[in-house]
C-alpha cells in the first residue's frame, strides 16, 4: 500500500508567490487581481464595436448586463438604480472567482472566509449607512416589530437585532461553505483514483480508477452550477438588503 493520503484541505493553503519583494502576495490575491481585471477587459472588448447587430462576444456581454440589470431593478426598484454598478461588480467578481477556481492549478479565493466575510461586511455596512441616510433614526424603530406589545420588547428586540446581525454571517458562510465543500469533494474523488491505482495495482485499480474521474466530471458540472448560483444568491440578497434600506 503506497503512502498516499487524501489531503483534502491542503489545497486551501496560501503560498506567497512574490517571495523576495517584502510583500505577502499570495496566489489568492493574484486570483483576485486576475478576476478584477478580467471583467472590465471582457466588457471593454465585448462592447468595443458597439454594433447594432451584436456579434457573439457583444451578445454575451449584453446578456450578462441585461440579466443582472433586470434582476437588480426587479428587486430594488428604480430608486436602487445607483447601486447597480456595485451589484454588477460584486456579482461578476464572485462569479469570476468561483469559475477561476475550477481551472487546474488555480485557486478559488471565494473559498476563504476572510474574502467572503469582507465582501459581506462591506454590503452590511453599506446597507446600514443607506438606511441611516434614508430613514434617519427611524431605522432603529424596525427592531421592534410594528404592533407588538411593549412588554415583549425585551425579548423581541434582541431577537430582531440578532436576526439583523446574522445577515453578513449567513451571506459569507453560504458562499464560503459551498465553495469549500465543492473543492473538497473534487479533491476527494481525484484522490480515490490515485488510491485505487496505487492500492490495488494498475491492472485492477486502473480501470476502477476511471469511475471517480467520471464522477469528477459530473462534479465539475455541478460546481459550475453552484458557482453561478452562489454568485447570484449573493447578488440578489445584497439587492434585497439594499432595497429594505431604501424603501422602509
Amino acid at each position: 500500500m503506497a503512502g498516499h493520503k487524501i489531503d483534502a484541505l491542503g489545497q486551501f493553503e496560501l503560498h506567497p508567490i512574490l517571495g523576495g519583494m517584502g510583500v505577502y502576495f499570495t496566489q489568492s490575491e493574484l486570483m483576485m487581481v486576475i478576476a478584477a481585471v478580467i471583467v472590465p477587459v471582457a466588457i471593454y472588448f465585448g462592447m468595443r464595436h458597439k454594433a447594432v447587430v451584436p456579434g457573439r462576444f457583444q451578445s454575451a456581454t449584453e446578456i450578462c448586463y441585461e440579466f443582472l440589470y433586470g434582476m437588480a431593478m426587479g428587486t430594488m426598484g428604480a430608486k436602487g438604480k445607483g447601486f447597480f454598478p456595485f451589484i454588477f461588480a460584486l456579482f461578476f467578481f464572485i462569479l469570476t472567482g468561483n469559475y477561476l477556481g475550477l481551472l487546474p492549478f488555480s485557486f478559488a479565493f471565494t473559498s476563504h472566509i476572510v474574502v467572503t466575510a469582507t465582501l459581506a461586511i462591506m454590503v452590511f455596512i453599506l446597507a446600514i449607512l443607506v438606511s441611516l441616510k434614508n430613514q434617519g433614526l427611524k431605522f432603529f424603530a424596525h427592531f421592534l416589530p410594528a404592533g407588538a406589545p411593549v412588554a415583549m420588547a425585551p425579548l423581541l428586540v434582541p431577537i430582531e437585532i440578532m436576526s439583523y446581525l446574522s445577515r453578513p454571517i449567513s451571506l459569507s458562510v453560504r458562499l464560503f461553505a459551498n465553495m469549500v465543500a465543492g473543492h473538497v469533494m473534487l479533491e476527494m474523488f481525484a484522490g480515490f483514483t490515485i488510491l485505487l491505482a496505487t492500492g490495488l495495482g494498475v491492472a485492477l485499480g486502473g480501470p476502477l480508477g476511471i469511475l471517480p474521474i467520471v464522477l469528477n466530471v459530473a462534479l465539475i458540472a455541478l460546481e459550475l452550477l453552484v458557482g453561478a448560483l452562489q454568485a447570484y444568491v449573493f447578488a440578489i440578497l445584497t439587492c434585497m438588503y439594499l432595497q429594505e434600506a431604501i424603501e422602509h
Binding site: 416589530p145 434582541p158 431577537i159 440578532m162 436576526s163 446581525l165 446574522s166 454571517i169 449567513s170 444568491v233
Partner: protein
Amino acid sequence: MEKDAKKKQLDSFDKKLQDFESRLNPSKKQNHAQLPGGDGELWRFVLRSGVELFSAFLVGFMIGYGLDYWLSTRPLFIIIFTILGMAAGVLNVWRIVKPSDIVSK
C-alpha cells in the same frame, strides 16, 4: 390591402409569441403569493434556510461569549443569547417562507 394582410400576420405572430412566453414562464402571470413552489424557488429556499439557522445561532453564541468574557459570568449569557439566537434563526427562516399575504414586519 397588402398592408392589412401584413398587419394581421404580425398580430397573429405577436399573439403566438405571448402564448409561448406565458407557457415558458407561467410564473409571470400568477401572483407570487404561494410558498416557495417553483423549482428555482425551492432550490434557493433549501440553500438559504440551513445557513440562516446556523448563522443566527452563531451570532447569539458569539454575543453571549463576548459578554461572559467581559463580565466573567460564564456560562450565563452564552445560554441566554444562544437561545435568543436560535429564535432569531427561526425568525429568519420564517421570513423566507412567509406567504406574502401576511403583512407583518
